[in-house]
């Protein structure tokens, strides 16, 4: 049959098929989302609508499976944890009647759910949903990322090890509105951890029905202020207000999260009026701070994090604290902050930043003293020191370490800097193969536990390639975990910071970073507490002259 195809016939057939394919490819849907008639334009003008621009991490909204702040920002509008941290770093209740407090044993934590709390599908939130959500988290098949923040619950470790399939010991249910957490060991910050996204409470039936697709598309409901109207997981998530919200009607009628891969395109979209608010990448801060269209809309805010150089304390090169001190003293932090980060931060005087309880106000800045650094190396008997740095090629890490490379050269230390992708970095770091690294750590609320325990406690330091083992510091960190008195806890962390950083220099803090965003003047309460852009308390002023009515 093929033999009988004539050349002319083939051309005609190919032309027809080609034309059809081209039409199919180019035509597609008209997607006239923005071409409403006059009536719908008026309707939009009357509505309170907010467009927020951010990148798309493509990890889904299930925060048991993601730790991304972008996903968290979206998910927190839909699903609630028992408590929540405000943008001003205050812990407040969501669906719990009050912030729970531990009984005298420091292990038992009774909780009460407010009356009338409903999921978006109209089913009531009950104690069983709370228990289900935590059991799901500890079920190995879920592959939850942040179990370490809650695994002090009795029975959690056994669940993670596959030895149990329930949390009957860790959460007991009194009735639909009353339940109690039971910890295996004291951990004061467990209550704090109930205020972050990883403690989201899901409706058991809907979550089980969605299975592995929970958090993808519109398969995501909660008790939050906004309900997902559409989510293509690719370009935009559209939400509408949850008019039945138990704590009063939400401020916005519609909330759009629009995804941008390129930070410059996102900023152009902001200038073009396609979005009202977005984060501002550090690499663009200087440009848009000097741009007359955006200068008065740039907001710089403090984070709770620290940018630092991680040192492998087990490395033969870095075992001596004098060497680590010398490396710290050779770094001109102010220069790095000014020349690489555009001044977005504050030179660090320790590990804990000023907003974290335990920050030592009286601590002097970490010294920059090249001669002193050389002297310390001499005292340590170290010459021709050669170190290897492996850091992620994303962000400013390589730029910072390249600057440090030059500074350490001044004291005779050779640093080989290698930028690698996240996959290689993650594997090498977990294996403890990284000697020197540059990174930032941003705890989700103002408490030192997550901040310091993770990197410097004997049981967890090795997983960060830091390998810091100091029994004195370890004792302080563990005591602080169980200390109920806030002032005493802060003092314990202050002591720990002094030992770990100012005495041992286990890692080298560089600066406490600031981050930035741009927001139009009609966005009310545009704030960011710590990397996560929450819309929970945000409103827009449609009477403002700049408020777009034709979008």
């Amino acid at each position: 049959m093929i033999e009988n195809i004539s050349r002319r016939g083939f051309v005609k057939a190919a032309g027809t098929v080609g034309a059809a394919a081209m039409l199919a490819a180019c035509g597609g849907k008209s997607d006239n989302a923005g071409s409403g008639d006059a009536a719908s334009t008026e309707e939009t003008a009357a509505k309170k609508v907010l467009y927020f621009g951010q990148n798309n991490p493509k990890e889904g909204l299930d925060m048991q499976k993601s730790t991304n702040s972008g996903e968290s920002a979206i998910a927190d509008s839909v699903v609630e944890s028992p408590l929540r941290w405000t943008e001003d770093n205050v812990l407040v209740t969501t669906f719990l009647s009050e912030i729970p407090t531990f009984e005298a044993d420091g292990l038992t934590l009774p909780c009460e759910i407010k009356e009338g709390v409903m999921f978006h599908d109209g089913t009531p939130l009950t104690s069983a949903d709370v228990k289900y959500s935590f059991e799901r988290m500890f079920t190995p098949a879920t592959a939850a990322k942040s179990t370490y923040m809650y695994d002090v619950l009795a029975g959690a470790a056994e669940m993670l090890a596959g030895e149990k399939d329930n949390l009957d010991d860790g959460i007991t249910i009194e009735d639909d509105r009353h339940f109690t957490f039971h910890l295996a060991t004291p951990m004061v910050t467990f209550v704090n951890n109930l205020g972050i996204s990883y403690a989201h409470i899901f409706p058991k039936d809907a979550c089980e029905k969605a299975g592995d697709q929970w958090g993808l598309g519109a398969n995501f409901i909660g008790t939050g202020k906004y309900k997902i109207q559409s989510n293509d997981d690719t370009t935009e998530v559209v939400m509408v207000k949850n008019a039945d919200y138990y704590d009063g009607e939400p401020a916005l009628d519609e909330l759009h999260y629009v995804f941008y891969d390129d930070p410059s395109t996102k900023m152009n979209a902001f200038i073009a009026g396609e979005i009202d608010w977005c984060d501002l990448d550090a690499s663009l801060l200087e440009e848009y701070s000097n741009n007359p269209d955006t200068a008065d809309k740039v907001v710089l805010y403090d984070t709770l994090g620290v940018m630092f150089i991680a040192l492998n304390n087990a490395s033969e090169n870095l075992k001596d604290a004098k060497v680590r001190q010398a490396l710290s003293m050779a770094i001109d932090r102010e220069s790095i902050l000014t020349n690489i980060m555009g001044g977005a931060g504050k030179v660090a005087s320790g590990w804990l930043c000023p907003m974290t309880p335990g920050w030592d106000e009286s601590a002097p800045d970490l010294p920059y003293d090249v001669a002193g650094a050389k002297k310390l190396l001499e005292e340590a008997g170290v010459t021709n020191l050669s170190l290897k740095c492996e850091t992620r090629s994303s962000g400013s890490y390589v730029d910072i370490m390249t600057a440090v490379q030059g500074m350490w050269k001044e004291i005779g230390v050779t640093l080989d800097v290698q930028g690698v992708d996240a996959g290689i970095w993650s594997e090498d770091r977990t294996a403890g193969n990284i000697e020197v690294d540059c990174l930032g750590w941003f705890p989700l609320y103002a408490d030192a536990d997550n901040h310091m325990y993770t990197y410097f406690a004997n049981t967890s330091s090795d997983t960060k390639s830091v390998f810091y083992h100091n029994d004195e510091a370890n004792e302080l960190l563990n005591s602080a975990r169980a200390e109920l008195d806030a002032a005493k806890r802060a003092d314990l962390y202050k002591q720990a910071d002094d030992i770990i950083i100012r005495r041992d220099m286990a890692c080298i803090p560089l600066y406490w970073p600031k981050r930035s965003f741009v927001a139009q003047p009609y966005v009310v309460n545009a704030k960011c507490g710590n990397l996560i852009y929450h819309m929970i308390d945000v409103d827009v002023d449609p009477t403002h002259p700049d408020y777009p009515t034709d979008r």
Binding site: I2, C26, D31, S35, T147, V258, Y260, T265, G423
Partner: protein, 311 residues
């Protein structure tokens, strides 16, 4: 013709298989544990091992390859590690945007390139020729990302005639189509001009004119048709390029196509998605080159293939 089609099709299948094997094994050799990337640095080793087992990543690589290949032959490219959706669904979702962008850009490049090329050749050595060729040189020289940014600044930010980015608004594909297509249009224009100039000086063109045929009938009916071979060569290879090389334009115009999907997949060590994306590119390229080869034979009767070539 049949033998040629069978031979070239088998060659194309062999190439696709080779690319599949190389892609799979290289991705499995490259350092960077996808499970560790997926679970994050705080996951304990037991969980990591458990997930690795559930994903079949603890099996011998050759066994994994066999399973992947068999599944792929049944249209199953696996499930994305991070997005938890079938790779085929993600590919098709991205393809709808890439195809729309590339399709429009190709059509734009083809029409504009051919028109400019023919006009320049017909008006050889006149101001029209010089102007059109100057424009085409500028089109070839200007990087696509630069054209994209300039178009955005002029037509979206200042004049506000078109949307700046995205895929949902009407005319959203207008600026990216031009940004992507202008370079290809310029190349086609230059090749068309050169090819047409060679043909226009041939005796049969003068004969056709002497027979009293209308000028444009001669140019298009006799000249253009005979100038097609080099044009098909460049236009064919460009079809493959344009469908697989729009990553920058997709990023700048915020189009969630294959390019941006692949970049994210690579950063996240999402192996099934990377493999699926690479196979998409491989299949497009192989099919396009196959079609170009077939078109040679169809358009030019002098080209004989295989055993027929000696006749």
């Amino acid at each position: 013709m049949r033998d040629f089609l069978i031979k070239r099709t088998l060659e194309a299948l062999a190439v696709i298989f080779a690319i599949a094997a190389i892609t799979f094994f290289v991705l499995n050799i490259v350092p960077g544990d996808p499970v560790r990337v997926m679970l994050g640095e705080m996951a304990d080793e037991a969980t990591v091992q458990q997930v690795r087992h559930s994903m079949g990543l603890d099996k011998p690589v050759i066994e994994q390859f066999g399973t992947w290949l068999m599944n792929m032959l049944h249209g199953d490219f696996g499930t994305s590690y991070t997005q938890r959706k079938p790779v085929m669904d993600l590919l098709l979702n991205s393809l709808q945007y890439t195809a729309r962008l590339a399709g429009w850009a190709y059509l734009f490049a083809l029409v504009l390139g051919l028109v400019i090329g023919v006009l320049a050749a017909v008006h050889h050595n006149t101001w029209i020729d010089r102007t059109l060729m100057a424009i085409s040189v500028a089109g070839i020289s200007a990087p696509a990302f630069w054209v994209a940014v300039i178009l955005q600044i002029i037509f979206a930010l200042n004049l506000k005639w078109f949307p700046l980015a995205g895929v949902k608004k009407p005319m959203a594909f207008f600026l990216p189509t031009i940004a992507l297509g202008v370079r290809y249009a310029a190349s086609i224009a230059r090749v068309t001009r050169t090819s047409m100039l060679e043909v226009l000086n041939q005796d049969y063109m003068r004969t056709a004119e002497a027979k009293g045929l209308a000028r444009w009938t001669v140019i298009l009916g006799h000249g253009f048709r005979n100038a097609l071979i080099p044009i098909i060569t460049i236009a064919g290879t460009q079809l493959g390029d344009i469908f697989t090389g729009s990553i920058l334009i997709e990023t700048i115009f915020n189009i969630p196509g294959i390019g941006s999907m692949l970049v994210t997949a690579i950063n996240q060590r999402d192996l099934p998605l990377i493999e699926g994306g690479v196979m998409y590119i491989a299949v497009i390229c192989v099919v396009v080159y196959l079609l170009v080869d077939i078109l040679y034979a169809v358009v030019d009767p002098r080209i004989r293939l295989g055993g027929e070539a000696s006749e």
